[in-house]
């Protein structure tokens, strides 16, 4: 009787271990599968963000917050320097375009000085908007950065070659 009981107990223990092992196996497979799914999801979210930045940079110069409109005559890919400096101070736009960073760099004449309201227009880099998010390498587009220059009694348009840079956010 005692021997039979012990044998049954052994069988129960054997079964429990087996069941635990099977459960662990399923959990491990599930976790592994979820990790792969999550990483693909993050990848596709990041690639969508990159695509957004790439398509946005080609048309951002035409958006009302950046474009010269008719202030400098009809010019393609023209960004209004005065407007951009004013835009930099407006916190409302921090999440408007759904990207991590927007920056404008003058190419010619080049300058590494970051633009502030104090040193404007004698500067070369405008950080229009930068977030604390993980930014990916930027998508870029060439633009003309224009403003009105007053010299004695003449007001003329001064346009410089610049690079518009849009960085998307890395997800995860």
């Amino acid at each position: 009787m005692v021997i039979k009981n012990k044998k049954a107990q052994m069988k129960i223990q054997q079964m429990m271990f087996m069941l635990l092992a099977v459960t662990f196996l399923f959990i491990l497979v599930g976790v592994f599968f979820l990790a792969i799914k999550l990483s693909t999801l993050k990848q596709s979210a990041t690639s969508l963000e990159e695509k957004n930045a790439m398509l946005l940079v080609s048309k951002l110069a035409s958006s009302p917050e950046f474009s010269c409109e008719n202030a400098f005559g009809a010019k393609a890919s023209c960004v209004d320097f005065d407007k951009v400096i004013a835009l930099k101070e407006m916190k409302e736009y921090s999440d408007f375009w759904g990207v991590a960073e927007i920056e404008i760099r003058k190419i010619f004449p080049a300058s590494n000085e970051i633009c502030t309201s104090q040193n404007y227009p004698n500067c070369g880099i405008v950080k229009v908007f930068e977030s604390k998010k993980n930014a990916l390498p930027p998508s870029t587009n060439f633009i003309s950065l224009c403003r009105k220059e007053v010299s004695e009694r003449i007001i003329y348009d001064k346009c410089e070659l610049a690079l518009l840079m849009v960085s998307s956010e890395e997800k995860g």
């Binding site: 069988k11 946005l56 009302p64 008719n70 004013a86 736009y93 403003r147 007053v150």
Partner: protein
């Protein structure tokens, strides 16, 4: 196995294995179905985001209008949502797609602050036509996007010549200006017995027994009224007013900067401030005329400046 006639003796091992097996199979089926559902929701959200991203190239520079089409492999319902949250409000896109002949509903909304889509609240089909047009008030405010399903055809009956020319140039397959068959949605100008009636001189569009108002002479809002439901139109118009408010602040700042640089001119500051206040208090399209007067005034003053702000 059988100790008595009719009695079935099952060992503990067997019983345990059967119960554990059943539990494992039930759990596997449950999680698989959940996973398929999540997968579908993910795909819908991805497609929604992709649609929003594909609207980026529709930003116009010197063009008066642009058109494109999107084809989705499966039958899709695009739910166009709009809300007045935050500084610019939000455009939401939510997709339902057909899977095994049944619509899979998703609760995932994709948000955009810089898009303005005018359409019915729900647009259904596989192919969607999208065209965009800039909205100026008096400066450029945004590019309005009009989305229609290829399943729905619009017939414009006797439109003004410039509209007819613009629509013909668009070459959008579901917009006709002549040779209408009869099963299209009829859009009439200054005649009152069509599905959609446009009073071009008064600046109003009557659709489904409801009337919306647009800025006379601005076709961008007129198209918006034609292609969208009143609720969508009014909400998107409020969002546009929020953008006008912020843009007028931007131009106020620009004026200060250009004055500092020596570009002194007739100040637009006061008028921009009025536009800012009126756009903030904007309630519905009925009040658009009051703003239109300010916008016209601003446009004239800006054109007279040596350093125009826009």
């Amino acid at each position: 196995m059988q100790n008595k006639k009719g009695d079935l003796e099952i060992s503990f091992g067997w019983l345990f294995a059967i119960i554990a097996g059943v539990i494992i199979i039930v759990l596997a089926i449950y999680f698989s179905s959940k996973l398929i559902g999540t997968e579908q929701e993910t795909r819908n959200a991805e497609t929604g985001k992709e649609i929003g991203i594909l609207l980026n190239p529709l930003e116009t520079s010197f063009e008066s209008a642009q058109t494109t089409s999107i084809t989705i492999p499966v039958e899709t319902r695009i739910n166009n949502g709009c809300s007045i949250i935050g500084a610019f409000g939000r455009q939401t896109i939510q997709l339902d797609q057909k899977s095994f002949n049944e619509w899979t509903k998703t609760n995932i909304n994709v948000f955009f602050s810089n898009k303005y889509i005018f359409s019915e609240e729900q647009v259904e089909g596989k192919k969607f036509y999208i065209f965009s047009k800039p909205f100026d008030f008096p400066f450029k405010v945004a590019d309005l996007v009009y989305m229609t399903s290829a399943n729905e055809k619009y017939c414009f009956i006797e439109p003004p010549e410039d509209i007819k020319e613009e629509l013909s140039n668009l070459n959008q397959a579901n917009i006709l200006t002549e040779d209408c068959v009869g099963d299209e949605i009829k859009v009439c100008f200054n005649a009152g017995s069509c599905d959609i009636n446009v009073n071009y001189n008064l600046g109003s569009v009557e659709k489904n027994g409801e009337t919306i108002y647009f800025d006379e002479g601005d076709d961008a809002l007129m198209y918006a009224g034609i292609f969208s439901e009143k609720a969508v139109y009014e909400c998107q118009l409020k969002r546009l007013m929020l953008r006008i408010k912020t843009l007028s602040k931007l131009y106020e700042s620009k004026e200060i900067i250009s004055e500092k640089e020596g570009c002194t001119d007739n100040s637009l500051f006061g008028d921009l401030e009025i536009l800012n206040e009126l756009s903030e208090g904007f309630e519905s399209s009925e009040g658009i005329n009051a703003l239109e007067i300010i916008a016209e005034n601003l446009e004239n003053k800006n054109n007279g400046r040596r350093c125009p702000l826009w």
